[in-house]
Amino acid sequence: MPRLSVWMVRTALLALAAGAALGAVLLADPSFAGGVARWRPLHAELLTVGWTVQLAFGVAYWILPRFRSGSERGREELGWAAFVLVNLGVVLVGVGRSVPGAESWALAGRSAEGLAAAAFAAQAWPRVKPFR
């Protein structure tokens, strides 16, 4: 497994572990500690984008067809950019949608996630090809 995939899948596992912990507190009692319910958007963001989307990035980078010449997985720097941007986005959206007055963080976070998706798509696009 390439280094970028290890980082992406391990970070996805951390997002899963953290998102599930928050979800467990929310499920056990939505009014627990008087303010945990406010963090529901962070729970959702960790599990949808931080876990599921990032896991898909990591596995796709590992498993999509490789090139015979040059860099075998194409433009690695785009993959690393996607990794940094998607995690920045998860934090900004999760906090921005959970904390009153931080809505602009959520917009910045969604923009980062959008750029991550674009970078990942640009990296993966030429690798979607027949085996030769």
Binding site: P2, A28, L47
Partner: protein, 136 residues
């Protein structure tokens, strides 16, 4: 395909069918008139994303991720089975307990057990998968 993966993927398929049936139920035009249908949305969502999506991922990852070692290719099989039992027990308790609580009948203890079981299942998966992610 290892036995644990077969159980995980087949359970995931059952949850997929159940989630889509629940999805129809909560969208029925008469849903608002039946208190039970009106409170099923969070249950539907979690049956779909935990029961189907996450469980499918767990099953496929357990099968296809790099091997841990020649002797224990998939890490701890015992931890894997504990994960399967805890995830499904926790989710089934949620399916019963969440609407029950939403309708004002209590059920806090059931949901506490459900929350702990699902959390332990997730952490078991993370613990078992982490050492299999190796750079090569």
């Amino acid at each position: 395909m290892p036995p644990l993966t077969r159980w995980l993927v087949k359970a995931a398929l059952l949850y997929l069918v159940a989630a889509l049936v629940l999805g129809v139920a909560v969208q029925l035009p008469v849903a608002g008139r039946y208190p039970l249908l009106a409170v099923l949305w969070p249950t539907y969502l979690h049956v779909l994303v935990v029961g189907w999506l996450t469980q499918l991922i767990f099953g496929v990852a357990y099968w296809l991720f790099p091997r841990y070692s020649a002797e224990r290719p998939r890490g701890s099989e015992r931890l894997g089975w504990a994960m399967f039992v805890l995830l499904n027990a926790g989710l089934l308790l949620r399916i019963v307990g969440e609407p029950w609580r939403a309708l004002g009948h209590g059920g806090h203890a059931v949901l506490l057990v459900s929350a702990v079981a699902q959390l332990l299942a997730v952490w078991a998966f993370v613990l078992n998968t982490w050492p299999r992610l190796k750079e090569r």
